[in-house]
Each structure stands twice: as C-alpha cells, then as structure tokens.
Subunit: 333 residues, 2 copies
C-alpha cells in the first residue's frame, strides 16, 4: 500500500463519518483536526442495498484514500443492527471515556479511485441506552456524538429536534444521565403526507399564528383530543388550508414540549434548555417553548464532526486536536 | 318508467346506502323494513374517480331498479365535500327529527341493468358537528346514523372504535349532546405499516399480554413518551417482535381511553360505556377499559341500516317499520 502522503491531501489524518438512516456525510481532517474536505450523499443506512456498505463509502471518500489508507471513525445508524456491524449500546450514565472504550471495529475492503482495492479500518461509536424505573428503555445512535461536540455549551437539559427528537439530561461532568425520544418529526411527516389530514391541506405557507395556535391547543389539551381537529379546523374554516401544516406542526411540537418539560423538570433545573439542531427546527422549538414560559438557548450548526474529533483524539486516532474536549474526557465515571 | 312491482323484488320499497370513505354498502328493504337483499363493494367515496358516483351505484343496485325507481337514503362520506353533494352539518345537540329535517337531496341519472337510464332521488343524511368551549370543532358523518340504529341500547356514553374512533355523549331523549374523534385506527395503520417502528415488527401473532402491557404503559405515561419505546422494546427484547403490533395497539387504544375518560367522565356518568363496533375492535376496547377499571357493554353488529330505516320512516320514505325508533323521534328538541 502506498504511503499516506501521496493522497490528494498530504496532511490528511482522519476520515470522520456521520452515517445516519437517511444520509451519509464524510469529512477529512488533518492531524490537528482542521477540516480539509467534506462531502455528503443520500446513501443513508436504510438506502444501502444487500449490505453493500463499501460501495457508497468508496464513492464518497475513495479519492481521499487514493494515496493509501487512513483511520476512519463513524457514528450513527451504521453501528445498528441494520448497519455494517452492530455495536452494542453503552448504558447511561456514560461519558466520552465510556464511549471511547466501547468503540466497535470493522475492516473493509474498499475499491479506491485508482482501481486498486484498499483495506481500511473503521471504528464505530456505540449508541447509548437508558432504562426508566418501570423497565422501559430508550436508545440513541449519533446524538451521543453531537452532544460531545457541544460539550462547551452550558446547561443540563438539551433538546435535539428532528425525526426522532431527543431530550437529554447531561450531568455536570459532561456525561449523559438519561434521555427520552419523541417521534415528533416522523409523526409530522406521516400525518401531513399520508393521513386523512393531508386531504384538507394545501401547499403550506409559513404561518406563525397557526403554529402558535397549535402549541397553545397542545398546552391545554391532550394530543389525542386534538389531532382530528386539524381536519375539522380546515373544514370549518378556523384555520386556512395553507396554514394547516403549521398548525399540525405546532400541535406536535407543543405536545412534545409539554411531555418533555413534565419529564425533565426536576427541582433545580429551572434554567434555559439548550436546543441543538438546524435553525429551521430550533426556531420553531424556541417559539413553542415560549408559549410554555420556558427559556431556551439555541446552538445552531452541526456538532457531530466536533464530537467525532473528540472521540478520535480520546481513542488515539488523532495526535492532538483543535477541539478542547469535554470535562469527562479520559476519566472513567 | 315501469311500475315498481316489475322489479326483481315485488315488495321493494327502499334502498338504504352506507357510503363511507372505503366501502359502499347497500340494502333493499320492503315497506315494513324487512331486508330483501344486500350487497357491498370497495367503491368507497375516496375510490370514486372524477365524481362519477352513478357508475358504482348502478353496479351495486342497478338490478334492484330494473323494474322502476325506488327511494334511496344514504349516509356517510357521500354527503361530504368529497361526496356527491355536500350536505351541511347539523349542530349538536341534535336528534332524529333534526337529522330528518336537514336531509340533503340529489337526483341522479343511473344506467340500469336493462340498458335504460332511470332517474332516482337520493336523500342524504347530514353529518353532525360539535364545538367545544374553546372554539375547536369536531365532525362525524355516518356515525350519527349508527347511533340512531342503536337507540334501544342503554347508556349515555358510546364509543365507536374504528379508523376515526368516536366518543359520544347521548342525552336522555336520544339526542347527541357532543362527541370527540380519536384518530386511533388511522395512527395504528400508519405506524405499523409506514413508520420506523414497523422495521422491528414481524408478522403479528395475537398477544393479549403485549396488548395489556401497552394499555398499562399508556395508563401511566403520555403517549409522546411511549411511541418510540415500541422500537426500543423490540431492540431490547422486552417484547417479542411478533407481539409488537399488539403492544402498539395497546398503547394507542389505552391512550384513547385515558383521554376519553378524562373528557367524558362528569359526575353521575359512572356507568358502563356502550361499545358499538366489530367484535374484533370492541373486544380490544373492553380489555383496555378493564385496565382503567371502566365497565363496558358491547353492542356487536351493524346498526347503520337500522338507523337508515329510522330516518326513512321519520322522513316518510317508509310507511311503517319494524324498527321502533328513538325517543326523540318526530319531536323537535
């Protein structure tokens, strides 16, 4: 195999990969954690056919490997039962050290851009699991890495809106104490596109009033009593057809926030919630939280690659890094 | 047009039609309300193309009309905006008299079995609407007729499980006071077939234990906190993959019952709930209600044609009927 310095990027030291259900994103870093290149594709784990993970991986970072091999570190659904290898969940509470100790490993034969085949070693971040007092469990894969990337953000309660929105209680040493998943984004997509409610909706035009009305209705009533009301509100002209999508969004996000505040509001946690996610979603969550009188701070942007750098450094895959990692780094709990 | 007695059924006096979103069902009655013939098809309102309601109607009851014309009475989504003509909702409280007074009418040209075209008059039962104190509305189409058909059943609280489950508060004179729709059946179908939860499910085998566990979890926690747990319960082996569908069913039906009991449990209503619906569903609802300590009585079978006969008699479409109609019959509220 050719020496590393012949690759397209002479200083390349690490390929970091965020491989979720729907998307594959890869970034190339130097030994200090500086970004050299970045790519993404729609080859999410659920789109991969017959277990052939090597092909989409080669497509996205084959050229980075043309000069030799590089360590790879991946997180997300790639470590699930549907992924390349199942990496067992780590039980909460868990910190950076616990995640690093439990990395999964897989060796892959990748076709590279110059036609040769190269062996690469991929380390995979484990997900986290938590169990409530009554025996019900919850899991995450990928968000644990985003949380590490956001280790400098203050606060104990984190909300990560999305298809499967996560509410996380973080301990003072940066470890994840417990968390709860809400299917808010997935329910929204199903209901607005596949359900009988979609029959009364027209192409949405952003309506903050309809969104806020949804949140207020959710604050005062159970979601079960409200969902069919999207249809009725349309039929009866209470809400304009083009605003019904935002009304539904308000109902669902409002219901999540009501349930989340009930679950994660022990005494002494009357501080702002930290929102981690895209601006589009964190703005909606901030609006909804305001209806409940809950202050938030939004942390825009994408922390997952910072999290991968933290883990890479902790695992010795990077010599040093520009990223100062979490208080829990390197220490066992 | 030929005289009526040349039709296939010499005594035919009324065609009663239950035309919902998914199915079309028609029954032929004599002047006393005795059933002469009955047919059904999958030509529900949502399956009808380009507003051509005459063709599926002719297919299902053209032969009944071959000897002449007959009065037709229909209920269900056929009277909605997506139906043959929009019949305005009647506001609650409403009884048989109110529904009869507000019947919609449409005249149709139907191709008949003998190749001729015949004019038929179709009367259409209006739906009901109710408005809560905070201005949110709810609607039904078809269930008002089933309720009339069940007028001899005792009780004030009726639950009609289904795609859009209805909880109904019935006044002492048989009128509908108010009601609430739950999207339980539709959510169940979406989640078990289209969502990420379906990925952990295998072909279901009826598991009363998993169903009851779902109801118990719903009793103790908000649905928002529980839905993703279907996936986790599968991943962690808490519930067998073939029992997850019933666990989900228990979560959704349990959440409906919790919300419904909260909404329809004013003082003095500590009596059994009457369940109207298919045995498959009423058995599940009875099991779930038991977890909440709520007694039920189940009224199996299909009350909608009895309800159509009541309305036909009240509207003078039938001279007399074997069905004794509701206490509110013929009297204005």
């Amino acid at each position: 195999m050719k020496p590393r310095h012949e690759s397209g990027h002479a200083d390349a030291a690490l390929i970091a990969i965020d491989w979720g259900s729907s998307n594959l994103r890869a970034a190339l870093f130097d030994v200090r954690g500086n970004l050299l290149d970045r790519r993404e594709s729609a080859d999410g784990v659920f789109a991969v056919k017959s277990g052939d993970f090597a092909s989409p991986l080669a497509r996205i970072c084959g050229t980075w490997l043309s000069g030799g091999t590089l360590p790879m570190l991946a997180c997300g659904m790639i470590g699930s039962r549907q992924g390349i290898v199942e990496v067992p969940y780590v039980a909460c509470p868990a910190n950076l050290h616990d995640l690093t100790q439990a990395l999964g490993h897989v060796r892959l034969q990748l076709p590279t851009a110059d036609g040769a085949e190269g062996l690469v070693d991929m380390a995979i971040v484990p997900g986290l699991q938590t169990t409530s007092a009554d025996g019900r469990g919850d899991v995450m894969r990928g968000e644990e890495t985003q949380l590490l990337g956001a280790h400098t953000a203050p606060g104990q309660r984190f909300v990560m809106p999305g298809t499967h929105s996560k509410w996380v209680l973080r301990g003072p040493d940066g470890r994840v104490e417990s968390f709860q998943t809400y299917m808010t984004g997935e329910l929204f997509d199903l209901l607005r596109s596949q359900s009988s409610l979609s029959r009364v909706m027209t192409a949405p035009q952003w309506s903050p009033e309809a969104f806020r009305q949804g949140v207020e209705d959710a604050k005062e009533n159970d979601l079960e009593n409200l969902l069919f009301g999207v249809r009725t509100a349309g039929l009866m002209g209470r809400i304009a057809p083009e605003a019904l999508t935002d009304y539904l969004s308000g109902l669902l996000i409002g219901s999540e926030i009501k349930a989340g505040l009930k679950r994660f509001n022990p005494t002494g946690l009357d501080e702002p919630i930290t929102l981690l996610g895209t601006a589009l979603l964190t703005e909606r969550y901030a609006m909804a939280a305001a209806v409940f009188g809950q202050r938030v701070r939004a942390l825009p942007g994408d922390a997952v690659f910072d999290g991968l750098l933290c883990i890479a450094q902790s695992a010795g895959l990077l010599a040093s890094a520009r990223v100062a990692c979490s208080p829990g780094q390197g220490e066992s709990r």
